[in-house]
Symmetry: C2
Subunit: 225 residues, 2 copies
């Protein structure tokens, strides 16, 4: 809302300076989302904005990074959930090679993920529950050098307690999500079965979960693994 009015005021000032300057410098945008329908719909939505131009679109993090290098967009709009390289991985790759800004879009906004995103020097973080009309404003904000973090996610991230688990406990929980049985976890981590049980037990106590699955689920919800 406020961003829109600011842009409006800016355009007004420009027209005073020069009539030929009526159209603002367009924002060149890259979109990455693995769901074609959503990506196409977003392109249509943002294509309605006169000052935004979609110059590249990808369906995974790897090609997103490649296209960013080729097209050098002003803003990269990346979905968090993508095959192979997720949004944050893609952001890291892109920001290490191209001078651009990244906005992450996500469905399930887990607090820990926001932390990871900010560490990756992401400029914007918006959930898919955001009203469609605001997206363009967010893009303009970020293009103007501001940051935009969704209020609700920011609040829950601030109130969320720091991860109480040790590195090893996180390792064990991570593996336990895909492995069946303590023995398999132990083999994958080159540990004794008893050690794995101990880590799982302490993790379960700290998260007060009743089973290893619940503990892994809670850690995942918090974005710790």
């Amino acid at each position: 809302m406020s961003a829109l009015s600011e842009v409006g005021a800016g355009t007004g000032a420009d027209t005073v300076a020069g009539i030929a300057q009526a159209e603002r410098r367009v924002i060149r945008l890259l979109i990455a989302d693995d769901e074609h329908l959503i990506r196409g719909a977003l392109e249509a939505l943002l294509g309605l904005e006169p000052d935004i131009e979609v110059v590249a679109s990808a369906d995974n993090g790897v090609t997103a990074a490649e296209l960013a290098l080729q097209t050098r967009p002003d803003i990269c709009l990346l979905d968090l959930e993508m095959p192979h390289a997720d949004g944050i991985e893609a952001a890291v790759r892109i920001l290490s090679t191209v001078s651009t800004r990244v906005i992450i879009v996500t469905r399930h906004a887990r607090p820990g993920v926001l932390r990871r995103a900010l560490e990756a020097r992401v400029s914007g973080f918006v959930p898919k529950s955001t009203p469609a009309g605001e997206l363009a404003a967010v893009i303009r904000d970020v293009a103007a050098g501001k940051r935009y973090i969704d209020h609700e996610i920011a609040a829950s991230a601030l109130s969320a307690e720091r991860c109480p688990l040790t590195d090893r406990e996180l390792d064990v929980l991570r593996v336990s999500r895909s492995a069946v049985g303590v023995q398999q976890i132990a083999e994958q981590l080159h540990l004794a079965a008893g050690t794995v049980r101990n880590y799982l037990s302490s993790a379960m106590t700290k998260l007060n979960a009743v089973s290893r699955h619940e503990a892994a689920e809670k850690a995942w919800q918090q974005g710790w693994i």
Copy 2:
């Protein structure tokens, strides 16, 4: 593709009949998706089509049904994953009260869900991996009385074997997803703990899963629960 050319041919025939008839009868559309951003983007995408008009939009199955009753759209485009009443539940409600057609849009296209959708007399079933350009063609197809089922989902649904589980086994698996411990499952279903263990065991055998969680997961993947 073929649908698009058919529509084009139809328009051509109309112009011969009458010049004032140049614009076809518009398709009145209802959209339901719990993610505001996606819903808005879809509205923008379909708003580009001259013969499609979005007359209602909802963020859950219940209000979708209410709005369908009020606005009586030609087509209802329903997301499968929605809070309170999912897409199929909403479809059942709508089709029992309003004369309209329903298209289900979904992220994870599980074969069993397609069966449920067809039993609910749904006319279209498209995954979110569909190219954005095809959606309008699908809507026109369905509005013209045709059916549209995504080829890949249809194939996997045909090749998928019939559910080998009994009603009771499905009940137990369903509850096991949210309950921790056999005792809790037993209490919720008013059964003895041993009975629950037996059902779980037989279900695990039939699905050759190694734990109850895996069995529940497999049954869920197939859309049986």
